[in-house]
Structure formats: C-alpha cells, structure tokens
Amino acid sequence: MKFLHKILEKQKPMFEKGGKLEKLYYLFEAGETFMFSPATTAGNKGVQIRDAIDLKRMMMTVVIAMVPCLIWGIFNVGYQHYIAIGEATSFFSIDNLLFGSRWVLPIVLVSYAAGGLIEAVFAVIRKHPINEGFLVTGMLIPLIVPPTLPLWQVALATVFGVVVGKEIFGGTGMNVLNVAMTSRAFLYFAYPLQISGEVWTQMAGEVAVDGYSGATALAVANNVSIQGTQSVVEGLSQANNVLASPFGGDFFSFQNMLIGGIPGSIGETSTLMALIGAVILIATGVGSWKVIVSVFAGALAMGTIFNLAGANEFMLLPAHYHLVLGGLAFGAVFMATDPVSAAQTETGKWIYGVLIGMLTVIIRVLNPAYPEGIMLAVLFMNVFAPLIDFYVVEANKKRRLARAV
C-alpha cells in the first residue's frame, strides 16, 4: 500500500495552494484521507498524543448501527410485496431479499450520490472539508422514506435537506435541524401523495389480493379511534387479518409490530432492529443513552397520561403500544441522538428526550392529520434544544456567581 500512498502524495502539490487544481483541494483531501489516515502529527505545544478517534470513525459507527435496520428493511420490503400479492413465503427468503434489494438499494445509491454531490460542490465553493456527517445522513434518508418513493424525489429531498438543513448554516456541526428529518419533512409537505396513504408496499405493478390494505398501524389506529366503535387494540387485531403475521399473532399484534413484519418506511418498521442499533450506539458511547431512554420514557409517560384522560379510543391505547407504533423507536435511536441538533448539555439531553417522546404521542393522538408524530417532534425539539441548553448553562453560571459570595 506504500506505493499507492506515494502516488497520492505526488499528486498533492497540484491541489495545494498555487497548484493547478487548488480549488479542488478538499475533494482531494477527502479522497486521500478516506484511503489513508493522514500522517500529520501533533503540534509543538500542548497535547503531543491524540486519541485514536476521529469523526470518520464516529460517523461510521452510526452507519454500522443502522445496518440491522437496513437489512431488515430490505427483507421486509420484499415480504410486504409478496404477502400483498398472496405469494408470501418465510420472512428471510431469497425472493424477499432480491425484491427488496431491487427497490431499496437504488434509493440508498441515489441518496448518497445526490447528497455527496452537494457536499462536494459546497466543499469546493465554501472551502471547507467534506463532512463525514453525510455518511450518516445518506443512510438515514433511505430508511425513513417509503419503498415506493420515486427516485427523483429521493434526490430532491436529499438536496433540500443538505442545502437548507445544513449547508446554509455552514455545514456539519453548525446545523440547527436534523438533516434527514428536514428531508423527510420536505417530502411530507411538498409531495404528500407519495409519502402518505397506501404507499408503504412496493407492488411493482402487480395486483393485491382481496381485502389487502397497505395502511400502516398508525393509520389504522387513527381510523379506529375516529369511528370510535371499538378499542384501538381490537381494531388493530382485525385490520388486515386476511394476512398472516410472520411472527405470530395478528398482523398488527404487539409482537409483530415489535419485531417489524409490517408496512412502513423502509428502515423504521422493526422496533427490535432499532433497539439493536441503540445497543451499538450506547455501547460505543456514540449515541447518548440519556436521549434514547428519555424519548421512550416520555412517550410512555404521555401515553399513560392519555390513558387516564381517556377522551377517545386512541387515548386509551395502552402506553407501551406507542413504543412499537410508527417510527418512534427509529427516531429515538437515530434522529434524536444526532449530537449536533440535540441538546448538548447532559441535563438538557434528559429534558430534550422526554419532550420528544411526549410530543410524539401528543401529535399522534390529538392531531390525526399528522399520524407520524416523531418527525415533527424531533424537528420541533431541534429548534428548542438551544433554549434548553441556554437555561442549563445559565444555571451553571448562577451557581458560579452564588459561590463567590
């Protein structure tokens, strides 16, 4: 590998100041540092040794934590397709894998390509290094969109998220909003037809069996509650009961929703896979366990409060159901923990997480127009995170002043 590094080093002067391609320096830097960790050494004064971590490794850890969700998503896209047309086999079949890959991988590729291009353009124009943060964003976006989303919309949403969510603020580390959630909110409001209703199953032009509905569990819960004739749990158990649950019980049973054999966005259906991701993030210390735990705690608390109020059937839904419905788990693990847009103080993280959990349930239950509460809850709390931190830090300042007297 030494000779390869020598070749790269030989090209370097061309990209450095005064070189022919100096404008492309950060592209070269990105490429080179991805192949070889740089040979730079610590400065003359101060710390002479540095920790083995860098931002690339940290971001890759998040990507690795998302892999279970991605793989599950691929199988599930295939599985949902085959049960819809009445040809379902076991969940982990080759057919499911092939069909799922055919529809999921293009979305991943387009997301990375579109976002990567924007990153590169901004790196050249704004003269900042290419940010590894996009490794994560590029994978998050495919996991939170339906498998039927047109590829051009994937590209457009990614571009919007990266430019408006991040680059206009100065790039990774400077953004206020979570980039992937910004992309999804953009899709939700700009192209509602492609991201709500029965878009969660990729039919690939084939016809569904009689009695099949591609609605998500959240949509079913909402409808049951509006009709008000039976409890949400009962309604869920009757919905789609032409289909067998791959993991026992009714199609929308708690256990099937927990494990994730249900329709939904590509990567968010399986609460279990999100929890595996959570274990990876928490064990590596890359994601804040305080945020993850407090989002779940907030959702449970709000669910319980609604149980006590009990004004409609949705309010009466047992609180633990909220944890497996929709994208709450995925959002709690991968969206709320984004260190840049989350609260940055440790006390603030608790408040931030609890409020995301509570808001998610409030939006779900009280506002039927937006069944997926986690998206708006995360974006809303992103905006409020600096305010939370402000008060936590002010309290610290006051402690310091009080001590002096």
Binding site: S37, G46, V47, R50, P129, V286
Partner: protein, 455 residues
C-alpha cells in the same frame, strides 16, 4: 479544616517507559539554558548579560520589563556562551556553559526557627532577587505572581497525575527541612490558608509529612486530580477579581533553600521517560539542562520526539534542546508521521482511546496495559460534532465546550460567566486529547486568557 475530595471524572493515560527510581551515573549536562518563553505572560524580557560574561548560580540574567523586581537567575555558574534570538530579535535562549564546581551568589541566611519572624517585605525582596519568585504562579491566567497581590490562598499539589510524571516524593527525597522552611515563608503572603494536597490513595511521603499550619487535603481520582486548578475549584474556587497562587513542591524547596542556605539552588532530579528510552530513569542536574547527555546511547530508535514536560501539556524541543524552567520531565515518544491504509476504520487495540466507537478496542486491554503512543493526530480537524465528552474528562462544574466556544467567539461576558478564571491550559488538556474534532483546545484557552487579561 482539611478536606477530602473524591473525583470521578477524568482519564488516566498509562504510557510505557515510566522512569525507574534510580539515578543515572552519566556525567552532568555541560550547558544550560534560560528560555524567556517558559515564563507565560513575560512580555518584554530584558537581558543583564552578554555573550562572554561569567555568571554565578543566582546571578540575575534577565527580567521582565513589566515586573522589574523579579529576577530570572542563572541556574549554574559559568560563561554565557550564546544568546539566541528569533524573528524580530525575539529572545529565545540564553545558553550558559557550566563550571565543573558551581559557585553561588550568597543571600541572607536564616535558621529554621527564625523564619516565622521574617516580614513579608524582607521575604519578598529576597525571593524576587534570588530567582525563586518565578516559581509562584497566579490564578487566574497561570502567569508569574504579581508582587503587589495578596492571594486569598496558596495551593501546592504534592502529586502529579500526568502521564509518565516524575515521582515528586522521590525527586525531593532529603529536602524535608527546605520544604518546611519554604512553606513557612509562603505563609507570609496569603491572607488565607496554604493548601497542601495529597493523593488519597498514596502514602504521604516524609517530605510532606508534619507540615504545620497548612490544610492537608486528600484528593482521589484519575488525572487531572493532581492539577492544582482542579483542586482549587473544589477547595477554594476563584471568582472574578480573586487571586490564588500556586507553586510546585520543587518551587517550595527552592524557596526554603534560599532562606536556609542563602543560595539559589537550581539542582534537581529530572525524569527521562517514554517508550523509546532504553533505560528510563532519573538524572541529577540543574534547571534548564541540555538534554544531549540524557539521550546519548539511551534511545531505542532515532525517529522520536523530545518533549520538555509531560505529553499532555509539554513543549517539543530539539535533540540539542533544553528542559523548561518548570519541568522535571523529558518525555520521549515515537514520531507519528505515518499514513495508515484505511486507518480511519481499521480496528485499533494498541492505540489508547477514551472512546469506544467502532474498532476502538483499547478498553479491552484493562487499566494496567501500558501504551507506546506516537504523535500522530489520528484524524483531521473538523467542526464540533460530538457532545458531552469534554465534560466527562473535566472534574469541574464547568462546561468546557461552551467555554471554548465563548472564547472562539471572543464573547467576554460568557467567558467570565462560564469560568475562564478557574482554568489554564493544563486543566483542559485532556479535552484536547479526547476531542473527536481535533481542536487545539489549550491554544484556544490561552487565547481566551490573553483576551481577558488585555481586554
């Protein structure tokens, strides 16, 4: 009331090549240097000597125009062989070729029992003239103490938790009387207490035992528990407008000797340590020693970095360089200028990390594993992304990230409110080590301190 402080936050960096408690028999260094850049805050050093002059140990060599009474004295007797200057004639080094037998300037002597009778004015005059005043540093800012101040307390940390640090008790063996005398003199200067802080887990060595009239506090925890800044924060925190002085035990001993023996005694033990040293041990020498005698035939390979001081706060020096005024340690590390194929994702068990992100497996090695770390940056500078890590290695009620950002934004009010008076570089050095985004935190802290000082 003496107190016990138990700290949890922090991080111990366990490096290979700790100095054995033996003293090398190599011939002593021949040249010594005074580096005005060692004295933080020294703005306009003025020289008393020129090349070719002869000096004694204790002869004033230079002073700072801003603090005209405070003399920096020659550590040895001999001839001034070179005055090195840098760009814009900045004074870099005054090199002195030492005599075989050291001759001393003489100052007034006192007996140990008379010391409590001495007035602050007399003590101050002798200390500033006798070259030992510069051992006193003031907080805030970590600069040489101002004679006009009366600090609310004086802090001495009797242990050093930095990587590869010299064993203070070993380096001061036999200096019991001088240490006691030094403390006696220091008591004259503060309206409050003298705090002597010991390692809770270790035994109190004879040097520091039975010192009367001081607060004997016990501190436990990982590095930076041994830093005076951390200790002050927990025992007698500094608010705006308040001043605390700090001094190393070696500095206290030097003061003691100045009064007991009437000489500026700059002799000291220096530890030479690090993974690249063949025989890491102690050398008997004087302040500002040239390092060439320590490294001749004592290195495993020659692609190394020499650091005056420890690996967290020290300064790189050349192989013909000199140990700094405040340092009792020469750390020698392998130079890390190597590029690694896919180095950002490969598993790494041999490079110590505070983090556990993908592939960082050093936490599996256990606490007793000794690391041979090199100087590689292990990554590229980036904007702040990860949060919460600085707080985990800073055992103070301070938000380092916010403080650092306030400094970067030159926001004076927030710098003050967030605690800039309580820190100097060394207290946040671990933040620089663990930083995912590879900022030069210590440099930023110093910029902030200078802004506040001059603003």
């Amino acid at each position: 009331m003496s107190k016990t402080v138990k700290l949890k936050k922090g991080f111990d960096i366990n490096l290979a090549g700790k100095a054995e408690k033996t003293i090398a028999s190599t011939p002593p260094s021949e040249t010594f240097a005074i580096k005005p850049t060692d004295f933080i805050g020294m703005k306009r050093p003025k020289l008393f000597v020129a090349e070719g002059d002869t000096v004694k140990a204790g002869t004033p060599v230079l002073y700072d125009k801003m603090q005209e009474n405070v003399m920096v004295c020659s550590p040895v007797s001999g001839e001034v062989v070179e005055v090195r200057r840098g760009a814009k004639r900045k004074l870099l080094e005054i090199r002195i070729l030492a005599d075989k037998e050291i001759e001393y300037e003489t100052f007034k002597t006192y007996s140990g029992s008379d010391l409590h009778k001495i007035s602050r004015e007399d003590a101050q005059a002798q200390m500033t003239k006798g070259g030992v005043w510069s051992n006193l540093l003031q907080r805030p800012f970590g600069i040489v103490a101002n004679e006009a101040d009366t600090p609310k307390s004086i802090f001495i940390s009797a242990f050093d938790t930095h990587p590869l640090s010299a064993d203070i008790a070993f380096t001061l063996k036999g200096e019991e009387e001088a240490f006691k005398a030094g403390v006696e003199v220091l008591k004259k200067f503060t309206s409050g207490k003298v705090h002597l802080n010991h390692d809770l887990s270790g035994e109190v060595s004879t040097v520091f035992a039975n010192i009367e009239g001081v607060e004997n506090n016990k501190i436990s925890g990982p590095h930076p528990a041994g830093n005076v800044g951390i200790q002050i924060h927990h025992l007698d925190p500094i608010g705006k407008g308040e001043v605390v002085w700090t001094i190393t035990p070696y500095g206290v001993v030097q003061i003691g000797k100045l009064f007991l023996k009437g000489i500026y005694d700059a002799s000291r033990l220096v530890a030479v340590a690090g993974s690249e040293v063949s025989k890491p041990q102690y050398f008997k020498t004087y302040t500002g020693a040239g390092i060439n005698k320590f490294i001749d035939g004592n290195l495993k390979n020659d692609h190394v970095r020499f650091i005056s001081g420890n690996v967290l706060t020290g300064e790189r020096i050349e192989k013909d360089g000199y140990i700094g005024f405040y340092d009792n340690l020469l750390s020698i590390l392998p130079e890390g200028d190597h590029a690694d194929f896919l180095g950002w994702i490969m598993p790494r068990k041999e490079v110590l990390s505070f983090h556990r992100a993908w592939g960082l497996l050093s936490f599996l090695n256990g606490k007793n594993k000794e690391y041979a770390l090199d100087t590689n940056m292990n990554g590229e500078p980036r904007a702040f992304v990860q949060t919460g890590t600085f707080e985990k290695v800073t055992p103070m009620d301070i938000y380092p990230t916010y403080l650092v950002k306030a400094i970067m934004a030159e926001d004076f009010d927030n710098m003050e409110a967030l605690g800039i008076y309580e820190v100097i570089e060394e207290d946040l050095a671990l933040c620089e080590y663990v930083d995912v985004s590879k900022h030069d935190i210590q440099e930023i802290v110093r910029e902030g301190l200078e802004l506040i000082q001059n603003g």
